[in-house]
Symmetry: C2
Subunit: 346 residues, 2 copies
């Protein structure tokens, strides 16, 4: 039986959407138990059927706007910190929250803890690929770090490949480095060095590095794992989301102003347009994962409804069933020497 | 009379689209003379009416894939280098090319030359703002530099403000720093320091700094000047272009697969959708400008047709008429002391 520790109070629709989502997930995941941390007087009345669901009192809640690291360090009675400590102590196998992303990240790194040999955990997300071999790809770091060294990016190539292989089922995931041009001498010093590290990792058979990719093309699916530094990865992800949102808004406005024929056309196309918008909706393409820590630590969008919460629970279940973390740990510990060599290269 | 030196051979549709575009522009710009550099045997036969158009022989052409800096340094008989040298020697007032962006940038920096007091020229582009006070905004650096220091970003705030004021006509352009969060302590060391420099520049009345902006929101027009380091600015611009392209492609596919009703709706909406796509088409939103050099140096997209070329000529003409460069030079030379102080701060 797997146990998922849940921050029941995080997110715009918490605790209602969290509890509803967990009941949906519980019905389809017979091997999972849910440990909910939150204000019992608010959470308990929401539960319809408490099979494999238990609720633990948390007096405090870390809000969306709270300073992440400070909050995680000082607010021991918050729902997030209590849930993270349940993973730390071994009572739970994975951590979930729809709340403050920075705080979940800090909880993952400081409480759940880094995998030995991984220097900088990162935030990973799954995005849709419009063309290419597969219908989605993973991208990391999308914002855990404001600054990265080349070795971090090399680690992301390895971590992302494990995720793409184990969770998405791609046999030899193609790893691309997000850079400002295709040639291997492109980019700043960090990206040039990262390119060489990824290339050597590919030569050693650890990953399947296909070279640089540019943010213009990634949605067309040239790579299954897009490796990025946290700063430009974050800028790229947010630019994708913002452009999709702005464009759909523009289309709506244009339809409204298009006269009778345009409006009629718009009405006919509505279901199709909704489908397109859905593919680039952060709520639909799954939870962001803190990769590089000792357990699955996953968040879903703050605005998530019950279905998104349930989907994220299934994602966590797959990470547990496939033993993703254990496989990463085994790999990293087996290649300690390569990692050591890599560190001296800097 | 203004003289624009034109690389007649750069771009996918050169020299045909260049010559046609210049004839269109010439008819609406009575105070501009065009000096075309290219293979005379190819260019001359294309000219319908040679009023204010002269053609100079260039034996060589720098191709799209050529290494920029090396090409500009060694290929003295190329159309781009000859055109740039015409600006350097004072025969022409501005430089235009639709060819290799890196080579134009190198020609701008090494041949036309940096404005005294500006340490790192940048590539600037104009993007549409879907909402907000104005219908477009400028963003820089979108890729001239792979790495920037905080002082460069401060300079971009100043340069971008001059462009937004003089060319777009915004009285007090709002300057935003592209960063990974709204708070002033967000980002890596460079962005934290840049935030403080921009803030002090705002306090001194040089610019109107409104704080950090994120790539998710910039298309909604929160800032008139988006200041970015060249690496993440490039990633953001390309992500915007790529997402717009992917989304429009998806909508087309969805319409094709949507059955009779969907197809009918799509047909009715076609003009409206085309209009939306156009707003995010690099060809439509104007040429990219090398800002920080001693003359207008402007490029248009490689795939540009005659109308885009003519539009860019009008943009250059406005830069000359408003004396944009002279105004920047006067400002920078008047504030030498602030610039010196700023350099020591590092």
């Amino acid at each position: 039986m797997f146990k998922i520790a849940v921050d029941a109070m995080g997110g715009d629709n918490a605790p209602e959407a969290i509890v509803q989502g967990i009941e949906i997930a519980r019905d389809s995941l017979p091997n999972v138990e849910f440990l909910l941390y939150g204000q019992t007087d608010k959470v308990l009345p929401l539960i319809q059927d408490d099979t494999r669901i238990s609720v633990m009192q948390a007096d405090d809640v870390i809000a969306m706007a709270d300073e992440p690291v400070k909050s995680v360090r000082s607010r021991k009675q918050s729902s997030l910190v209590l849930a993270a400590n349940a993973v730390k102590s071994g009572q739970a196998d994975a951590l979930f929250s729809a709340g403050n992303t920075g705080a979940l990240l800090a909880a993952g790194i400081f409480l759940v803890g880094r995998i030995k040999g991984i220097s900088r955990p990162a935030l990973m997300t799954v995005l849709p690929a419009m063309a290419g071999d597969h219908d989605s790809f993973v991208m990391m770091d999308v914002g855990a770090n404001a600054e990265n060294r080349a070795t971090h990016l090399y680690e992301y190539g390895i971590l992302g490949s494990f995720y793409a292989k184990e969770i998405l089922g791609y046999s030899t995931p193609r790893v691309g480095l997000l850079n400002n041009g295709g040639e291997e001498d492109k980019g700043d010093a960090v990206h040039k060095e990262a390119h060489q590290l990824l290339k050597s990792g590919s030569a050693a058979g650890f990953i399947n590095f296909i070279g640089n990719v540019e943010s213009r093309e990634i949605l067309q699916g040239p790579a299954d794992v897009v490796v990025a530094d946290g700063f430009s990865g974050n800028a790229t992800l947010k630019a994708i989301e913002g452009t999709a949102l702005s464009l759909m808004k523009m289309i709506k406005q244009t339809i409204m102003n298009a006269g009778v024929i345009g409006k009629l056309g718009g009405a006919m196309l509505k279901p199709a347009l909704k489908q397109v918008a859905g593919r680039l909706d952060p709520e639909q393409y799954g939870g962001a994962v803190v990769l590089g820590v000792k357990a699955p630590v996953v968040k879903t969008h703050g605005a998530s409804g019950p279905e998104a919460v349930a989907g994220t629970m299934r994602q966590i279940n797959t990470m547990l069933e496939t033993q993703l973390i254990e496989k990463v740990e085994t790999f990293v510990s087996a290649h300690k020497d390569d990692l050591a060599a890599r560190e001296t290269e800097e």
